[in-house]
Amino acid sequence: MNNLDPHSFTLVITGAPYSTQAPQTALSFAKAAIAAGHAIDRVFLYGDGIHLASALVTPPSDEPHWPKNWATFLEEHEVPGVACIASALRRGLVDDKEQKRYELDASNLRAPFTIAGLGEWVEGNIKSSRTLYFHGDR
């Protein structure tokens, strides 16, 4: 495999922002991959990583806003960002559809992230040249 030819990546993030370094490392990797002419097929949030898609995260103003920075990146490069539905529901991340289905008082998913099943991960895994995982330290 020649790494100068364009390739594609699926990135899986399992570490939460403000708890692990995973979202920062993954974003730096994603930007470098795009800069080298490669594509990011999709970003899949799994386990505690789903908190990256929260619309309500409000860090102190002098700290980077990782959910916002990631959302900007996804929009700019038209990369789908998908949070695993099973991980999300257990951890309190819901979109409007799940809000209605479970009769909850609010939804808190940040656009352009969407919620879907592990099938999205399987598909990314099949289609991409490489699938990379970004975990927390513990």
């Binding site: 790494n3 490392t25 730096s28 990797f29 470098a32 800069a35 080298a36 490489r130 990379l132 513990r138």
Partner: protein, 93 residues
């Protein structure tokens, strides 16, 4: 450049059990990229056998370890992307 069988991406502190699991599965034609807390492996003088060892420059600098990187190649994110494509397989510990 030799063949690169497996690229091991290691982000755990040397005290984390997964650090040892990674070392136990290293092959002679493998390479490691130390990232995040994994770069502390440079300070704790872990033995990486014959594997090539890379470390992410920004994480090394953040932890004040820029002076402890003798046998280690520092890489930036772009070079790391290249390594993931050179390797036959990549595993994130």
């Amino acid at each position: 450049m030799n063949e690169l069988h497996t690229l091991h991406i290691l982000n755990k502190t040397p005290d984390h059990p997964r650090f040892g699991e990674c070392l136990g599965m290293l092959g002679p034609d493998d390479a490691i990229v130390l990232i995040e807390n994994g770069v502390l492996g440079l300070a704790a003088a872990e033995g990486f056998h014959s594997a090539r060892v890379y470390a992410l420059r920004d994480d090394v600098a953040a932890r004040g370890l820029s002076g402890s990187t003798q046998a280690t190649s520092l890489v930036d994110y772009s070079e790391w992307v290249g390594l993931t494509l050179q390797a036959e397989r990549v595993i994130s510990w």
